[in-house]
């Protein structure tokens, strides 16, 4: 018995596992909970199976309380790779338009879907039929909850007013709210509606979103279509882009059309063509934040749904040891515009500059954020120190009201530092001092000289040149002086002839004086002899006065004088000596002849240079 029971349980488990592996999903929904007796409603039954070829068979439920006005069916096959294996998902959507037959509470029984011999059923639905002419309350769609249940201007279906008529491709821009507040998020979506095959899109050009701070929510990299029935025609809706927009100022704002180039056809070869489409412009009326009940000093950036928390770590610390105060604002809205309250001066606590860190995320199409402000606090005294409550006013657009969020006060216990720790436990040091930042100003002023540098002054270069010029002058002067200095011996050589001539002129004068009886013949001859010997001494370097006639003759011959000249010189000198020491023997005529001969001899002697 127990063996059979176990087998049955095993079989049940296998069957359940097989069903799970097939992954069959069926559902039914209506587009309204209420319908007037003269109206219609749509029943949509969706069956999704994990199969490429097999189809699920739908059996409509017993609709005894309704008349079937029309019935349509669409099918979509999606192909994906899961863990490297191809997976197909076939979705069949059957839409039935129903008209109620009677008033009251009506039921739509469960529909039955058969797939591979197994039956699956949908849930039972309940509809309330109203008297003819009465407007039913719009029913919210179950699959897409409204973004803001309090918003009167929320647009639940982006295609609710789309009428493509005969167009195959429609680019549709939509916003989920037409009258947002300043700083409130709205979602801008761009859809492509197609009833032809779309193989790709290109050159998607979003409009300039001036007047908004925007954040990307969704930017699909692949085209994933969703079946939609619009005006009874099946379309596939492709979401191309979704952005969150935060209006920055109040007033009427227009969002220009977006543009995209759509490639239709199959693959690369079959009838592939390109078509350009533009969306319709959008207009929205941004409302200013209400003035009533607006808190004093309200910061216009604090819009959204935010919470505020504060913490201190650690809450018990030794004096002088730093603690970290952390203030966190978290919620929905634009965290970048948020203005958080600041911690003021707290007696007994030295505070350092705060650091701020923002994080953003997208959750269910909503921009959420978290701002964390951290501040280092150092207790300067022992005992309990209370960090006061901080509050922040904000405007919650969901509630259309201002409210205040607060943190609780935090009690910090500060105790005296143990002596050993105070002496220096470097391992516990936490006060990290990073370089940078503006340095403190100077309190003492010194006056700087802005005089032009010396090398730009007029005296600089001349002064540099003075030294070398002075030395050059000194050296030049010495050289000049040396050049100008004369050798007396040479001078005598140079002047020997003129000196001898001068003596001969003196002798001539003595001759004239002798004629007048004022001079003697010995004076004349002495002068002639001095002329010759002086010349020989100065010019020829021969000290004739101290030489015998033979020595003089040899000396003159040694210097290259012709022997005739030498003999003549010796003769004249002998005649002069005789006339000087034996007077009376010389008349004036012979003296004139001797004077003339002496002059001629000087010329002959001068022909041979000294030392030649």
């Amino acid at each position: 018995m127990s063996r059979r029971t176990g087998s049955a349980l095993f079989a049940l488990l296998v069957a359940f596992a097989a069903a799970a592996a097939e992954d069959v999903q069926v559902s039914a929904r209506t587009d309204a909970d209420e319908v007037a007796l003269d109206g219609t409603l749509n029943l949509t039954i969706t069956a999704t199976v994990s199969s490429k070829g097999d189809q699920a068979e739908l059996s409509l439920p017993d609709l005894k309380d309704f008349d079937v006005v029309s019935r349509s069916q669409s099918e979509q096959v999606a192909f994906t790779f899961v863990n490297g294996a191809p997976t197909f998902r076939r979705t069949t959507v059957t839409t039935v338009k129903l008209a109620p037959r009677r008033e009251g509470q009506l039921a739509i029984e469960a529909a039955r879907v058969t797939y591979k011999g197994r039956a699956y059923t949908t849930q039972r639905l309940s509809i309330r039929a109203l008297p003819p002419g009465q407007s039913p309350t719009p029913k919210a769609r179950a699959q897409a909850p409204p973004p803001d249940r309090f918003a009167e201007d929320a647009i639940t279906d982006p295609f609710q007013d789309v009428h493509p008529q005969s167009r195959d491709l429609v680019l549709r821009a939509s916003i989920d709210r037409e009258r947002p507040f300043v700083g409130q998020q709205i979602s801008y979506s761009l859809y492509l509606l197609a009833r032809v095959n779309v193989s790709g899109i290109d050159k998607l050009q979003l409009p300039r979103l001036d007047g908004f701070w925007s954040e990307e929510i969704e930017a699909p990299q692949q085209l994933v279509g969703e079946a939609r029935i619009i005006d009874g025609v099946p379309y596939r809706a492709f979401l191309l882009r979704k952005r969150a927009l935060f209006p920055l100022r109040a007033g009427k704002v227009q969002i220009d059309p977006a543009e995209v180039e759509v490639m239709t056809g199959f693959g690369m070869l079959f009838s592939r063509s390109s078509t350009r489409r533009s969306s319709q412009p959008l207009t929205l009326e941004v409302q200013p934040l209400p003035e009533t009940h607006k808190p004093d000093g309200f910061d216009a950036g604090n819009v959204g749904s935010w919470t505020l928390t504060a913490s201190v770590d650690p809450v018990a610390v030794a004096v002088g040891q730093p603690v970290t105060f952390k203030l966190v604002a978290q919620g929905r809205g634009n965290v970048r515009n948020l203005a958080l309250p600041k911690l003021g001066q707290i007696p007994g606590l030295r505070s350092y500059d705060a650091t701020s860190n923002d994080k953003e995320a997208i959750e269910q199409g909503q921009v959420t954020g978290m701002r964390t402000v951290e501040q280092l606090l150092v207790p300067e005294r022992t005992g309990a120190i209370e960090i006061p409550s901080l509050s922040m006013d904000l405007f919650d657009p969901a509630q259309k009201a201002y409210r205040t969020v607060r943190t609780g006060p935090i009690r910090l216990e500060v105790h005296a530092a143990p002596a050993s720790a105070a002496i220096g436990s470097q391992a516990q040091a936490q006060n990290l001092l990073a370089a940078g930042g503006l340095r403190p100003i100077r309190l003492r002023m010194t006056r700087a000289s802005v005089a032009p540098p010396p090398w730009t002054r007029g005296w600089f270069w001349p002064l540099l040149a003075t030294g070398p010029l002075a030395v050059a002058l000194v050296a030049g002067t010495g050289r000049l002086r040396r050049l100008l200095a004369r050798d007396p011996a040479e001078e005598r050589v140079k002047k020997a002839r003129s000196a001898a001539r001068a003596r001969l002129r003196g002798a001539e004068t003595l001759l004239d004086e002798q004629r007048r009886g004022n001079a003697s013949a010995s004076d004349f001859h002495a002068e002639v002899a001095r002329a010759l010997t002086g010349y020989l001494t100065d010019k020829q370097g021969i000290a004739a006065a101290g030489m015998t006639r033979e020595e003089l003759g040899r000396a003159l011959l040694d210097r290259g004088h012709p022997p005739g000249t030498v003999r003549a010189v010796l003769a004249v000198l002998d005649e002069c000596d005789r006339a000087r020491f034996a007077p009376g023997g010389a008349d004036l005529t012979s003296q004139e002849a001797r004077l003339e001969r002496a002059g001629r001899l000087l010329g002959e002697l001068d022909k041979v240079r000294r030392g030649a």
Binding site: R439, L443, A448, T456
Partner: protein, 264 residues
């Protein structure tokens, strides 16, 4: 406005003291007032005080550093960079001015790309700027003249000691000349240095508002002035990017009153 503020301050101080205030004490009093305004967060009043001192012709590295810091607090990065550069010109060893200038540059809009075209001249000028150029120039003149004097004496009365002393003087003069040349080069580069003080200025191909603009410079960017014409200045960035910008958009680091040298 600043002159009126200065006059009012001086008159008040003089009336309070009942005596005539010497200019130096008056300048120090205004400096203290401006510092107090800065420390209490009134940066506009601090800037007015510092600027009044500058208009009096005062040149002080501390004054320029404080003014740069005050402008930075006001978010005027161009003027902050200009006055910190001036502080460094007056005192190249001023660490505070150098650190504040780095802080200013960290927030500059313009980030230069590409290799430096000046071959490191700017870096060399920075390295040479702290050299005691004027003192070295005076020493050069003294040692050079002394060396030649000793040489001249040696020529007239040759002695070994004179020749050795002359050689020693010439060696020292050579060292002083090297320092002077380095300082001269740095000085020449600094004279052409400027800072963008306008928030943004288009750099054009020619000195005209109608000339095409290919790039824009923003406040705080350091550059070199190469020419001036018709209310425009031809500027070159460190990476060689060159253009004509309105003359009022850039300010030379060395103001005209601080040097009688030609800039260009």
């Amino acid at each position: 406005m600043r002159r009126v503020a200065l006059a009012a301050l001086c008159a008040a101080s003089a009336a309070q003291a009942g005596v005539s205030v010497p200019p130096e004490a008056r300048g120090n009093a205004l400096f203290d007032q401006a510092n107090a305004a800065y420390l209490s967060g009134e940066t506009s009043r601090a800037v007015a005080g510092y600027e009044a001192l500058l208009e009096e012709g005062l040149a002080s590295p501390e004054l320029e550093t404080n003014l740069g810091a005050a402008y930075l607090r006001q978010g005027k990065r161009g003027l902050a960079a200009l006055h910190l550069e001036r502080a460094l010109f007056l005192d190249p060893s001023d660490d505070d001015a150098r650190a504040d200038l780095l802080e200013v540059r960290r927030g500059n809009v313009d980030k230069l790309e590409g290799e430096s075209e000046d071959g490191g001249a700017e870096a060399l000028a920075r390295a040479l700027a702290p050299l005691p150029g004027p003192a070295a120039a005076v020493a050069l003149v003294a040692l050079w003249s002394l060396g030649w004097g000793l040489l001249g004496a040696n020529v007239l009365r040759p002695r070994a000691a004179l020749g050795t002393s002359a050689i020693a003087c010439f060696l020292l003069a050579g060292a002083a000349a090297l320092v002077t040349v380095g300082s001269t080069a740095a000085h020449r580069l600094t004279l052409r240095r400027a800072v963008v003080v306008a928030q943004a200025a288009p750099a054009r191909e020619g000195p005209s508002d109608r000339a095409a603009s290919h790039f824009e410079v923003h406040e705080g960017t350091a550059l070199r002035i190469e020419d001036e014409d018709q209310g425009f200045r031809r500027v070159k960035l460190a990476n060689g990017l060159t253009g004509w910008v309105p003359a009022t958009a850039v300010e030379p680091v060395v103001p005209p009153g601080w040097s009688n040298q030609r800039r260009l």
